[in-house]
Symmetry: C2
Subunit: 298 residues, 2 copies
């Protein structure tokens, strides 16, 4: 399942709870578009802000709504005991894989992070994707630690942060040399994804892919076909969105974009998170509209 485009939908949530209907519709929309897998309850899916019960229900909904498309479910939490509980819920819901970031409050040591993956992988019956996201966890993996963790049973993939295109080939070659055979290497950081795929990453874990699957599939398929120039050109067309991601964060921009497309209500982020200001929402709408009209032209 760790190939191509893994699309991460929002889990629209307000102070009353999860908008389950919109969430299921978002997942169905991705499955219909033909994404290779769905990453439910990732950072974009706000897993860290949901209760165990909300997460279990959302995992079930995602698996049902995805049909034949495999679903990976985020299982991160501050406590190992909570990770184990959420992992069991995800597996019971029918998840094909789980995604685990070393969420921190007290800064974690390498031994603590290794211990977390050791404790969790020992209890799994589906593959785990190691989620390396220093922007939210504030933990930085060394290559040596990636190597040790990837050698644990049930590790199926590693999801790394975005790498600027000029550094991607070296970085991906170096890290792949560390990973046990059969462990897939996937890139995040949507703006850098074309470069990562062109440099040989196995898949793209995509935020905007959870909302604009066609655009992201086109990039992914171009890279897979070896048409590196087309992959880069299709990605460059999305630069207005990447620019907004850099300014407001990918989650808030994707939230506003989903609102603009009429796919979710407002608000759709759990407090303390807030939507972006009205003026910024207009910029998001303009970026989406320019993308749609350029799609019509191409």
């Amino acid at each position: 399942m760790f190939t191509g485009l893994s699309a991460f939908p929002l889990t629209p949530t307000d102070e009353k709870g999860v908008d389950e209907r919109s969430f299921a519709d978002l997942v169905t929309r991705l499955a219909t578009a033909g994404v290779d897998s769905i990453g439910a309850l990732g950072s974009t899916g706000g897993y860290a802000y949901l209760t165990r019960d909300q997460r279990a229900r959302a995992a079930r909904l995602a698996v049902e709504a995805a049909g034949d498309v495999p679903v990976m479910v985020g299982i991160g939490a501050l406590r190992t005991s909570e990770v184990l509980a959420v992992a069991e819920d995800a597996q019971n819901a029918g998840a094909s894989a789980v995604l685990l970031a070393p969420v921190s409050y007290q800064p974690l040591t390498d031994e603590e992070v290794f211990g977390l993956y050791e404790d969790v992988t020992g209890e799994l019956s589906v593959p785990l994707c190691v989620y390396d996201n220093p922007g939210t966890t504030h933990f930085t993996f060394s290559d040596e630690l990636h190597e040790r963790i990837a050698a644990l049973p049930n590790v199926g993939a590693v999801k790394i942060p975005g790498i600027p295109a000029d550094q991607a080939p070296d970085r991906i070659t170096a890290l792949r040399g560390r990973l046990a055979e059969g462990v897939a290497l996937g890139v995040s950081g949507d703006q850098f994804a074309a470069g990562g795929l062109n440099a040989g990453a196995d898949l793209w874990f995509s935020v905007i892919g959870g909302l604009l699957p066609e655009e992201c599939l086109a990039i992914t398929r171009a890279a897979a076909a070896g048409d590196t120039a087309r992959a880069e050109a299709l990605s460059a067309r999305m630069e207005p969105l990447w620019e907004l991601f850099r300014r407001y964060g990918s989650l808030r921009v994707t939230s506003a974009a989903a609102e603009h497309l009429g796919l979710v209500g407002s608000p759709n982020l759990p407090r303390p998170l807030r939507g972006i200001p009205a003026a910024a929402k207009e910029e998001v709408a303009a970026a989406l509209d320019s993308l749609t009209s350029s799609r019509r032209r191409s």
Copy 2:
């Protein structure tokens, strides 16, 4: 209540749960030593790793065990709705104040953090202490934001990170000029506390004060009496501990120190956190023993 020494006990916890008996004993020990207040379920008290029920029970135990000493209870959580629930539990338990850090997963904007404090202070009937701890929350308060938040109803104090002694007078004067009248300013970062108190901070929020209250009260009382040199000298005597704090983090060192003093069992930190290696535990024991023998000599 925001004066002198506020001592933060550990909440000894393992995979089976909170060791409530040891926790209550730690609190009673602090009250007996005469600390000015107790900070239950702070970062040292592992609030972020406990369930709502564990936190509610620990808050009740702390208030009971503290007798006449006022107890401040940590109410931080990733979701505002959870903060509000935990705050209600803390107030029902008899907390005299609450402590709130802007815990983050998605990096928070200034407006989101202001909104969090606005949402929470509006629901409180006890004073709130703003908890500024970028080492765990990864949020950096601007002075302007401190000023806005301190003007909200029910804000009673601000807890700031450690400031090197040479910068403390300027920093404390500058920040105090921003805070609404009646809002206390307290320092953290044990190694820098003497300097902060000597520079006019109202109180010391202390990690090691939760374990070695006599030593910390001596520093606090010397500073309050204007004997800045004695406060600095008493703090300097604890340098072997400060050095270990810098190397392993104050929580892990305090955990090992409490073990060495026979006050808690082992393990006493919730996974993924782990105790420090055996060799480091020996260093902690040696630092404590040298402090005890220097206390006997003085």
